[in-house]
Each structure stands twice: as structure tokens, then as C-alpha cells.
Amino acid sequence: MGEENIILRADNITKKFAGVTALNGVSLNVHRAKVNVIVGENGAGKSTLMKILSGVYPEYEGTLLLNGEKVNFSSPKEAMKSGIAIIHQELNLIPYLSITANIFLGREIVDSFGMLDFKKMNQMAKALLTRLECDVPPTTLVAKLRVGQQQQVEIAKALLEDAKVVIMDEPTSAITDAEVEVLFRIIATLKKQEVSILYISHKLEELFKIADRFIGLRDGKMVGTIENVSQAKKEDLIRLMVGRDIKNLYVKEDLPLGKEVLRVEGISLPKHTIKSEYLVKDVSFNLRRGEVLGIFGLMGAGRTELLETIFGLHSKTMVGDIYIDGQEIRITSAMDAVANGMGLVPEDRKADGLVLQMPIFKNISMASIDQIVKNGLLNSGLEMDLAHKYIGNLNVKTSSPGQKSENLSGGNQQKVVLAKWLASTPKILFLDEPTRGIDVNAKNEIYHLINNLAKEGLGVLVVSSELPEIMAICDRILVMGTSRITGEFSQKEATEDKIMNAAIL
């Protein structure tokens, strides 16, 4: 590959945070009009590298060359002017402004009177949206869009600025499969238009569909590239990421099932706005001790809402009956749910799972603080014992239990949320997308953990939108179509086709 085909070159980039080396002499090339995929575990330095390339971190050692010329961006805005745009995992749009207003934010077009030229901006926005296969009128408020559409607006922003390099950080983590298809078509189109893509994702399955080459990052170092994607196998990619073969990605032991621990009958949850429509409609199922029950569904099928409803978060509007150990229980709040032996590991661990500024040990004791109270006061000895126990059991990688939770990697944060619930010794554990945004190694640890919990006699309910995951770790799989249960399969009879066919019902 000649020099002219390299649009962006990072040379010997080193970045340190308060003594911790996030990137250590990383050199890599971004090839022109190709999809360059960066793979690596969480904490490998991918995000740091992206932030340097897109001007978020202006200070670092080493050099960046754009089209062979040395550049140093002092801000994302400057990077964008030079043609490097980044689509963050968390989208940065203003909800109560229109699509057009968001696309043109900070670059508004004005007429000769200095007034906003809505007509022209809407026309241009419309043209950009059409290019992205998005048929929503540009005057629509962003708040009304689905996540996938919002992402398209972000991409439109980048295109408006005539970006030559588009960095995408986990773009498929929050969108539906249909939207993923659209995104991949957009990426293909962009490639034809000589745009270079730098793509980060944990979803190995999807990477082979779009990648032109892989770049491996491990522990802040560049460890190699795979240039010939068509010859590469999944195992090669995993070796590049973690540096060793993981023979068996998923494990699920066949365990004997115990008595029924949870049964729900006729659970429904009407929509807030339209009472005749339902987010969850007439869902009934049971869960036995020692069982891992999976709920698969596409985005918007109502999986999270179902868990929330059973957990007492929508007690004013829900209908249906909940039985725990055969006894009918009224659950009107999360408090009731916890008191009845349930735990919920939420989808968004940062927003709903952890108090990020609190140290690990305080998060672990949060849901079961009574066990560390002695003579009416919190006993730090008991609390530390509890923390050490679960940090050890779950293999949380941390310097000390006093470390702030916000400084942990995603996988370790998830383990702390799990530790919080395990410390409360629940009978029933709900896991909502337990491995979202977590690297392969930590994923595997969490699968083992789920298996062990079932072995100890917990009933585990796992919601996931990753098919291989749900097929591997669950004894039984319920499929949710729009708001209803549309299929049920045992692990043996489940195939990807059957599940997907039920999910689109």
C-alpha cells in the first residue's frame, strides 16, 4: 500500500493520565476509502486514541499526519474543519431542536438580513438525509426520532462538514438490526464517495460484514493488523484482541432445575400517551430455581419495560399478577421487589446501576446495608469484608475497594453492579443486556458467573439482543415481538432462524 493511500497516520503516540499510560507508542495508518476497524478489549486504549484523532485531547506525545502533513488539533471543531468527524457512542444532539437545527448547529446559514435561512437549511438537510436513506422530514424534533435515526442525523452533521475521515465509536450498540443494515449501506456508500472510516465495535459478528482491515490494540499498544479480511477467521480476530485463543467462547452447564421461584400472569403495561396501545401485553411465564431464562427481542420490543414492570417501577399503570415461591405478591416499588428477593442489573449501568462517585465498597453494600450495621451504626470492618469477598469472587480488577467506581472499566463496573446484588442474596436476578459494551474476556467471566448463580439455585432472567449470547447461556428462551411473547424455545430446539422469525412477528 503506497503513501498516497494513507489518509491519516499516527506516529508513536503516547498518552498518559495522572501517571497511567493509556497509549504507549502507538503507530498506525488509516487507509483511504476503507473501513479500518480497531479491535481491542475495554481499556486497550481505543477511546483514548479516537479522542486524540478527533481533537478532544490536544496534548499527547508523538505526531499525527493528515495526508502526509503534520497536524495537531486543539479542539474537535478544528479536527472537523480538517475533515475528521467523530460519531460518539453517546449521541450529542439537542432533543428539542429540529433535525435541521441540529445539523447546522454552530454553522447556521443566514440570509442578507442576518436572519436564519430556514428554507435553504431545510433543503440541504433534506438532501443529506436522503443520501442516508432517512425519509424523516428535516423539521422533525430530534426527541421524536429513534436512536438509529438520531445516529443518521449525527452522520449528516459530519457529511455537511465534508468529512474525509469518519470515526464511529460502537455505532451499533444501541440500534436495531434493521437500522444496522441501513448503517452498513451508508458506510458502503461513504466508502464509494472516498470517505475513510475508522470503526470501533465489540460485536465480532458484524465486523466481518464491513471491515476492510483490522487494527489490534492491546494494553495501550498496537499489536498488529489483519489486512486480508476474507482469509481471516473469528479466532484470528479474537487472538488479535486478547492475545490468546479463547477456544470456547460460551459455556452453559446443564443443571437440574429446582422449584418454581417466579411466575407472572397477564402482565400488561399501557403506553403513557395512548392507553389503548401497550408496551407490554399479556405476558405470562415462569422461572425455576437454577434456571437461566432468556428474553430475546429487537430494540423497542418491550423487553426492558417488562423487567421494569415486574420490578415494580410502573406499579400505577401495570396490570397482572406476580407470584414468588407460589405466593401472590404485590410489588409497588423497587423497594418491594428488593424486599422480596429480586435484583435488577439495569441496561445502563452508569445511569441506573452505580453511584459513580462512590467507592466500590459503598456500591457493593448499597442494596443490603443492614448486614453491615452493628449497634445501629455502619461498621467499616464488616463493610470491607463484604467488599473484599465479592471483589474476590467476581474478580473485579481494582487497586482497592476504596477506588471510585467511575474509574473502573465497563466490565469491572458491571461486576460491581452484580456484586451489589449478590451481596443482597436474592432469589431472582434480572439482567438487562448484561454484557453491553464489555470486552470478550469480561463477557466470558460474566457468563461463567451467571452459570454459577444458577448452580447456587437462583432464578436468572437475562434480556439480551445478542443472539449467540442468548442461545449459549440460557436454558430456555422467550422471544418478544412487539410487546408480546411470540415464541418459546428450549436451548436444544433454538436456532437463530427460529428465534429471529419469532422476533419479527
Binding site: 420490578f311 423497587a334 423497594m335 421487589a337 428488593v338 424486599a339 435488577l344 439495569p346 445511569a351 441506573d352 446501576g353 452505580l354 453511584v355 459513580l356 462517585q357 462512590m358 459503598k362 448499597m366 442494596a367 446495608i369 443492614d370 450495621v373 445501629g376 451504626l377 455502619l378 451489589k420 443482597s424
Partner: protein
């Protein structure tokens, strides 16, 4: 711990120390026992209110009504003590001892705080608005109760609370120390205290962990009300008079003490001892500026800048918070 984090941790104490040294050099009246007790007595009311304010702010709330609640509970205590409850039409008269009158003040303060908490948790009224409403409600109630005139002549027993000495230490200082000590234990060593931090740090995570958010918040506002009543009784006793406009704008001094003490207005981070240091800085500054004959107008301007500097320092030390 390196030097930088040590300095950050003790920056309020360092600021207080520097302030004292400077004032001691500029005025020979500053560093005397008499002036020391004066400052302590003066800040005692603010410290009591600010302890409650700290708890409220730690839950990511605010309480603008403390000044008015202070006035109303002080006036109720004074009124009960002096006049009792007298209803000739029912042929009813209830007299109050000092203890009974003080208890009456606490009930009023706690009750109004409870009302704040009820509005905030049950009707989802934002704390700013709910307590703003209470600010005018309680002030109006004070005017009604007093008829707009001070209630004075409350007797030596009642006056002892605000002006007496015990074991060589002024009574208001004793009361304040006890309030602070209890609050430190509650925040550091009890479940309730831990939950206050958890709610302020991430209310959603706290709710999903099974915490009774509403109950904790209602208690926090009730405690803020009771502590305002404590302040009201100290103030009324010291002046031997319940003034209808007592405690006017005290909520602002209180918020200032909390903020200077390093408690984050976005909740979840801060401490009672920080607030005590904040109140001390304000108290020492007030006293010093008076001793140096600085005009009261300038005093206000200086105080405003001290608040700004404190918050800027806090921002520099915690750059990642909203």
C-alpha cells in the same frame, strides 16, 4: 497522599488559618478570647441551619425556607412562653414552661419541613419551588402570629439558652457542637446518612437498589426544619425577643456556608465539617471586616467574591461534574 491532594483536602482549613493570621496582624482586637467567643456565638445560628442545608443539598435539593421557618418557630416558642394558648370562648388556657415552649417551636419547624418534603416527594414539586413557597408562607404565618410586633420579655430561664455560659463555654456553642456531632455521626456512620449520599449521587441507581427515596427525602427536609427551629430559638433567646422579620435572607448565608465548605450543589459530595468550616470562614470574615471598620456595603461585596472563589476552587478540583 501527595502534596496537591492534601492541599485540596484541607483547603478550607488553610484558607481559614490564613484569614486568621492576616486579621490578627491587622487588628490587635481580633485574636482575643472575647472576640473568639463572639464569633462562635454569632455563627452558631448559621451553623445549625447550615447542617440541615447540607443534608438537603447532599440529596441534590435546596431549602430556601429555613430563614422563615426559623422566624416562625422562634416566634411560636416566644408566644407560647409569654402568652400560652388562651381561648376565652372555650374557657381554655394552657400555659407553657420554657421546655414546653421550645418543644412547640421544634414541632412547628419540623412540621413545616415535613410539609416541604411532602410537596417535593408526593407532588414532585421541584425543591426550589416548594421551599420558595414555604419561604413566603412561613414568613406570612410569622406576621400573623406576632401581629407584626416583636414578642419580648421572655424571662431569664429562656434567655440562658442564648446568653448563658456552661463550664466556661457559651450555651449556643454547646448546642451547636452537639448538633454538629450528631450530624457528623449520622452522615458518616448510619444507613440514613449513606442513603443521603447515594440519592444525591445517583437517584436512579439508589431507587433500583431498593432505597425508600421519598421517606429519606421527607426526613431530610423535616430535619432541616427542626434545625431551623433550633436556630430560631437560639436567636430569640439571645435577643430576648422574637422579631417578625428575624432570619431574613439567612437561607443565603446558609447556602454560602455549605458551598464554601465544598459541598456540591449537584448532590452526593460534601460533608458537615466542610460546612462548619464554611460558616467559620464567613463568621471570621464578618468579624474581621467589622473590626477593621470596613463599610457594610463593602463587606457584602467581599463576601460575594469569597463565595465565587470558593466555587471556582471547587470546580478546578472537580472538573468532571456538571
Amino acid at each position: 497522599m501527595d502534596i496537591k491532594t492534601t492541599i485540596i483536602k484541607f483547603q478550607s482549613i488553610i484558607a481559614l488559618f490564613v484569614l486568621c493570621v492576616v486579621l490578627a496582624l491587622m487588628s490587635d482586637k481580633f485574636l482575643t478570647m472575647e472576640n473568639g467567643w463572639n464569633i462562635m456565638r454569632q455563627i452558631s445560628v448559621n451553623v445549625c441551619i447550615s447542617v440541615g442545608m447540607t443534608l438537603v443539598i447532599l440529596t441534590r435539593g435546596i431549602d430556601l425556607s429555613v430563614g422563615s421557618i426559623l422566624a416562625f418557630s422562634g416566634a411560636v416558642a416566644a408566644g407560647l412562653l409569654k402568652f400560652g394558648i388562651d381561648m376565652p370562648s372555650l374557657n381554655l388556657y394552657i400555659g407553657f414552661t420554657v421546655f414546653g415552649a421550645i418543644l412547640g417551636g421544634f414541632v412547628v419547624g419540623g412540621g413545616l419541613g415535613l410539609f416541604n418534603g411532602w410537596m417535593i416527594t408526593q407532588f414532585k414539586v421541584p425543591p426550589f419551588v416548594a421551599t420558595l413557597a414555604m419561604l413566603t408562607i412561613a414568613r406570612g404565618a410569622t406576621m400573623l402570629w406576632t401581629g407584626g410586633f416583636p414578642i419580648t420579655g421572655l424571662g431569664p430561664n429562656f434567655a440562658f439558652i442564648g446568653t448563658g455560659w456552661f463550664l466556661g463555654i457559651p450555651m449556643p456553642v454547646w448546642i451547636t457542637v452537639i448538633v454538629v456531632a450528631i450530624a457528623v455521626v449520622i452522615t458518616k456512620k448510619t444507613k440514613f446518612g449513606r442513603y443521603i449520599y447515594a440519592i444525591g449521587g445517583n437517584e436512579s441507581a439508589a431507587r433500583l437498589s431498593g432505597l425508600n427515596i421519598n421517606k429519606i427525602k421527607i426526613w431530610v427536609y423535616a430535619i432541616a426544619g427542626i434545625l431551623a427551629a433550633v436556630g430560631g430559638i437560639i436567636l430569640t433567646s439571645r435577643l430576648d425577643s422574637a422579631q417578625p422579620n428575624a432570619g431574613f435572607s439567612y437561607e443565603l448565608d446558609s447556602i454560602a456556608a455549605v458551598v464554601i465548605g465544598g459541598t456540591s450543589l449537584s448532590g452526593g459530595r460534601g460533608s458537615i465539617m466542610g460546612t462548619v468550616q464554611g460558616a467559620l470562614i464567613i463568621g471570621v470574615l464578618n468579624s474581621g471586616l467589622v473590626l477593621l471598620n470596613v463599610s457594610p456595603f463593602w463587606q457584602q461585596i467581599i463576601k460575594g467574591f469569597v463565595i465565587l472563589i470558593a466555587v471556582i476552587m471547587d470546580r478546578v478540583n472537580h472538573p468532571n461534574e456538571d
